[in-house]
């Protein structure tokens, strides 16, 4: 943990950009997107870091688990496995919710060669959240506002001039050294200030006691079937929540056949689609929309998955609340189940 001037962050970005693609959240057109800010221009031309940009609507999972991925290719009788060879990249400006989700997906995809390759090419820089964002509730699902692990570096803006750099990996330490940043060790007082900033961030979230109640009811098996079935018709099966959710990992495979050859491709899938689990016989283990909504939220919120993934599936980023046309994103559902 070291202290530096605010300007050191831009020096760090320039140094990272010299070695790898720098990808940051930026306002672009009508929304916040993950934008490669290095591009083709000289790194000296990097615009100053935008500390206040919000959470991009697309989650960063696309960098490790892209929406469309070719797994193998064939031509005639020759079959060739396709593995990505990504150039090194830095995600600079991840928030605690998203870095928590990456750690979650790391467990799910631990044996997936494509994921592992993309993941190994990534350098993760977190910006700790100083205030609550509009629809986020990371504090209530133990995913923020400050990240404590899962990153190479984490930055906390302590004041207008001072930034605290937390090192999460050897690569993180190396990056500080390579950038030749002027730093000083963080003393006890600095740690106190960091604690105060985090406490203020936590305090900026509105109290949402319904979240704990809903989770407790879910874990105790107290949620009645009628409650799920009441939610069911509001799910249009648009696939928005699962596409944006940083921990959703379901995919489907399809063979795209062209003249003489083709590709086996995986696309993001969604467990809220009726066809996702329909069996060839027509039998469906989750036949009603309410059954599928229940399964989805059980996977996101139940403590039953902590053993496998180290935490619950939901990281409180709030994206599903934005994108759900049926107004049954996480917060709305928790509100109803925990009322």
């Amino acid at each position: 943990m070291v202290l530096a001037g605010r300007g050191a962050v831009d020096e760090l970005r320039a140094a990272l950009a010299a070695q790898r693609a720098l990808i940051e959240p930026r306002w672009q057109g009508d929304g916040i997107e993950w934008v490669e800010t290095t591009g083709s221009g000289p790194t000296a031309a990097l615009a100053p870091f935008d500390w206040d940009v919000g959470l991009p609507l697309p989650s960063p999972k696309r960098f490790f688990f892209p929406p469309r991925e070719t797994l193998l290719r064939w031509h005639g009788d020759a079959v060739e496995e396709v593995l990505p060879a990504p150039r090194p990249f830095a995600l600079f400006g991840l928030r605690s919710c998203d870095v928590t989700a990456i750690a979650y997906q790391d467990r799910f995809f631990a044996a997936d060669p494509a994921y592992v390759r993309r993941r190994a090419a990534a350098f993760l820089v977190v910006v700790q959240c100083r205030t609550a964002c509009a629809g986020g509730f990371c504090v209530d699902v133990d995913a923020g506002p400050f990240a404590s692990s899962g990153f190479d570096l984490a930055l906390t803006l302590l004041s207008d001039e001072r930034v605290l750099l937390e090192v999460g990996s050897a690569e993180g330490a190396a990056a500080i050294a390579a950038a030749r940043l002027r730093t000083e060790p963080a003393d006890a007082r600095t740690r106190t200030i960091r604690g105060e900033v985090e406490a203020a961030a936590r305090a900026s979230f509105p109290p949402r006691p319904f979240i704990a109640r809903a989770r407790a009811r879910l874990d105790a098996g107290e949620i009645r079937d009628e409650e799920w079935q009441a939610l069911g018709p509001a799910c249009l099966a648009c696939t928005g929540c699962t596409s944006l959710c940083p921990t959703c990992s379901c995919f489907t495979m399809t063979d795209e056949v062209a003249a003489g050859g083709g590709e086996r491709v995986r696309y993001w899938d969604s467990c809220l689609l009726e066809g996702f689990q329909r069996e060839a016989s027509g039998h469906h283990p989750a036949p009603r929309p309410g059954d599928r909504v229940r399964r989805f939220w059980y996977h996101k919120l139940s403590a039953d998955f902590v053993r496998e993934f180290g935490r619950v599936g939901c990281v409180g980023c709030g994206r599903c609340d934005v994108t759900c046309p049926g107004s049954i994103g996480a917060l709305r559902v928790l509100e109803r189940l925990g009322a």
Partner: protein
Amino acid sequence: MVLGVEEGRVTDVRPLASHPVSAGQLCAKGWNAEKFLRAPDRLTTPLVRRGARLEPASWEEALGAAAAALDEAVAAAGADATGVIASARATNEDAYAAMKFARAVLGTNNVDHCARVCHSPSVAGLGRTLGSGAMTNSIADLEHADCILVVGADPTENHPIIGARILAAKPRGARLIVADPRRTRLARFADLHLRHRLGTDIPLVNGMLHAIFANGWEAADYLAARCEGAAALRASVAEWTPERAAAVSGVPAADIVRAAQWYATTARAFLAYGLGVTQHVCGTENVIALSNLALATGHVGMAGAGINPLRGQNNVQGACDMGALPDVYSGYQRVADAAARAKFEAGWGRSLPERPGRTTLAMQEAARTGALRALVVIGQDPAVTDPAQHEVHRALASLDALIVLELFLTETARLADVVLPVASFAEKDGTFTSTERRVQRVRRAVAPAPGVRADWEILEVLAERLQRPMGFRSAAGVFDEMAALTPIYAGISWARLEAGHGLQWPCRSATDPGTPILHQNRFTHGKGRLIPVGDVAPAERPDAEFPLALTTFRLHHVYGSGSMTRRAPVLERENPPGLLWIHPADARARHIATGTPVRIRSRRGEVRTRALVSSDVPEGTVAMPYHFAEAPPNLVTNDALDPIARMPELKVCAVAVEPC
């Protein structure tokens, strides 16, 4: 929406959180909108018919064949022996080029598009009562509505972003009334579901109007100041007591009165309707009835209210605005109006035909009789989407030349003599006009698939081969010409569309901010017109031989005939196991269960599919989605027409259903 692009290919679609309409949301079709782009069967080379087969050909050969066929038809039987069916999916620039191609190159007003089979009665009906056939209000206005009345529309499936706004209005306290014979998703959330019999919209609405006048719920000041014909309307609905309306429609009288009270006495009431209203022999009159309801209660011309036809395709509003219609040029300037015609003649440097042209179905009729010899069909699949399919096929087969511009070898393209492959929305620049009259840019995200061209480019080259060039060199140039000739678009330019989220017409000058709400101080043609309409029975009612009423509808995950969405694997997987929705009682009586193979017969033909037993359809009514070429209800639907808009009655016909 935003397209993610990697190495020159579109990888995914993402919504825009700050867009005033989508607000970060998409439907399943949107989330999967890129899947068809690289479908292996995408057309990338022109096809020319040689004998029984369509075979690959060069652009040179295909354009030559198309031009020769059009030339021949005009020489043999005159310009009116040709016609153009434009696309509601392609850009405004493409649609404007199509209508100019028909009028200035071929020399005929035979130009139309699929609005004929969706909202032509809205253009005709609201044109008469208000002076403009589009949504009067904006989608975001639903946030301000205190009462929402949805008639014959299924927005959560067909207009999901509008459906989303309605669902979001409920917890805020807005009252929701749904009038639909089917129990739609929205009906499950409604405070009141008026489940009227198919084809009884006018009795239902007249019954509401009766209750409104009887109880003094009408907007007397508004009627006096802004409308004409109130006395005649009041007199005409006097006979429609709620009890009589109940007897005809099947909706309890008390519900009719309650719906009337809620709708009339709420300050801001938003009325939305869809094809359940328009696809009838009385489609135009149905629209006029709803307009009467909205005007009598003073709900037009303010925020959070209005009468709002929900247009289906991405650019069906734009294709209408561009004048891809037989009786109007762009901006609804009438062909029959000598001044408008003179303006376009001057603008285009050609003399133009005076007589309004044929509608899509009239063109098909003319093809069957031999009066129409050559037809250009752009991005539309009438062989699946139009009623009485045997007749459609007969019409298309009777043509000397069928020229189709398409992404895929659709059922219609299979019948063509020349097929020209086109660029998709992701591969070209242009504008779309959404259902709320919002004109927005669509930007090229990737280079066109090799071998394909934009519609307007193809039409320009064809025009040049016919020795009548249109003078188009760029899509922006097409827009500029259109805006110069079209007062409601006059203030819109690509440059102005660069920033922000588009402009809503009318937008008459470069400083005009556009018009989110129509008719605020006066109606487009002065006073709002109340026009009495009487009950019109469906052209065909169930009888002993054909005892069930068939209606058609659409599914959330399929768009049109599915030429795009059915190439997305996860969407295709959503198709239900059967395509005939049938009530449990009707199913039991016929020994039908979900999955039972069934035959649906009408006086026009028969279609086979499997049954899906569901009480979402009322007893005595069966329903089929119209998307699927393997089981097209249009084999049995009725081609009886609304005499005003020439809309076929796709929403009700009599059928017999039996296991097979």
